[in-house]
């Protein structure tokens, strides 16, 4: 499957990346080469093969349902570039 510049532009929006015109051109060429290489997977007969998302077979690993101390909110918010004492701060989304 060949990848068009328009598709790459759309993927950049989905990926939440701002790409300059030059980056978009380079990215299109590079992704075309990589996707072209990856396309060899299509020749594999995978009929009846179960997808393997993970090396282990186990699912639903639970810990005992016990209350344990968690991290302090302030310690976690300290990693944010912009926060007040309780919340992450973002630009206004409504009523601009």
């Amino acid at each position: 499957m060949s990848l068009s510049r328009e598709q790459v532009e759309k993927v950049a929006l989905l990926a939440r990346l701002e790409l300059s015109d030059a980056e978009l051109s380079a990215m299109t060429t590079q992704l075309q080469a990589i996707v072209g290489y990856v396309d060899q997977l299509a020749e594999l007969d995978t009929n009846g093969v179960e997808p393997m998302a993970h090396p282990h077979d186990f699912t639903n690993v639970f810990r005992p349902d016990r209350l344990e101390p968690s991290f302090a909110r302030t310690a976690m918010l300290a990693t944010a570039p912009h926060a007040d004492e309780a919340f992450y701060l973002v630009p206004a989304v409504l009523g601009q």
């Binding site: 939440r16 997977l41 594999l44 995978t46 570039p81 630009p91």
Partner: protein, 512 residues
Amino acid sequence: MSLTDLTAAELLEMLGSKRATSVEVTQAFTDRIRRLDTGVGAFLRFDAAAALEQAERIDARRRRGEPLGGLAGLPVAVKDLLCSRGELTTCASKMLANFRAPYDSTVVAKLKAADAVLLGRTNLDEFAMGGSTENSAFQPTRNPWDLERAPGGSSGGAAACVAAQMAPLSIGSDTGGSIRQPAALCGVTGLKPTYGRVSRQGLVAFASSLDQIGPLAWTAEDTALLLSAIAGHDPRDATSVDVPVPDYRAALGTSLKGVTLGIAREHFAEGLDGEVERAVREAIRQFQSLGARVKEVSLPHGKYGIAAYYVVASSEASSNLARYDGVHYGHRADEQRIRAELAAKRKELVAAGHTAEAEQLESPLVMLYRRSRAEGFGPEVKRRVMLGTYALSAGYYDAYYVKALKARRLLRRDYDQAFAEVDLIVGPTTATAAFKLGEKTDDPLAMYLVDLYTVSANLAGIAAMSIPCGFTRTGLPIGLQLQAPPFAEDRLLAAAHQFQEYTDWHTQRPKL
């Protein structure tokens, strides 16, 4: 003979018998870092004073006769991808240039509990994405055997600091070969444990179903020592497995007699450098002379490994790296400027009568996400995020992501079948010795192919390691890869140790 010429096991013995103090050992390594690392660039940060302070505390406890951990007084370097409380953890990314981790990763906590001296943080490809460490946002790392060449990656700093004798032990991580490939190119020993053997808690995630933390050192014995300190179940990592941790050092004496080595014909196909092939075949003969049997096996789906890997790893990366949005961590673009730009654009559109388009302009929040990520991520991270987003997007999910997961299953079956007949699989770690800095940076696909022999172990989730097995005519190290079934690290380490008892490749040091 300087302290920095000794192996970790030898240093531990000297410390234990009080023929050296941790301060002396730590001083020897920090002096060497100061002298040599401007040329090598293995460390992103190191703090000699803090390391010596830790060493002093351990020495004092030893003098008082207090019980000490398994690595007491030994300096260890840590890849800058593992959280260490209160310290910078940058992942070699501008995105996290100022990120201070709020907690210790389990592996860092275990190193502290083992009374290791944390020397400093080693360089890597940004977010561990790359095979040369050239994708670091901060500095290149040079191969100690030839400073014009790359150390491999992504744990390039981790491998180079051992090779340059700036640390006796080093922690790396391996998602597609990121411990084994740099170990091979820098002439040291490195092990990627079975998926689930070492806790990933606090390891900044790249591809969660593939990432594993592991040790690098000169010898199999030192590798065993470090693995023993970091392995084990962790309730805080649901993918870590509750299987007992054997005494890896005690297992090293196991003889090679009766061990069957699998040789995969696919490992010796086109693309393998002649000098590398000769060294690997010679190593296999050495194993045979030590009593191992050899049997040919086939890993027919290995050739799809790179394709499957880049789809799976990039898909998981695109999801994992969604957290870097300018809100929760790290770099945030200039909000004022974004607002001003959007207002100007809106004004322009309205003035031209395009009111509908003015309504459809992106919100400042989406712009903030997009620009923060654009400014914070380097080109390779952007490529992987793009590739992964594409592979997971509507219409392509089945053709790429699900297809790659099926290829992954076939790859795992290849291994299951091979390991029903053999104990270990032996082959080259990389197709060539170290390449020049800049040689592959313009061709992302060529860089991806350096992982040809290593990605399959990650996809399958098995254990694998690389040990030195020779040199090219120009003096560059060559690595031998050993692969084992899940949780057979003891078998890997024993075979590597037996090999190292009779060879001296692992005792060669670069001239710096």
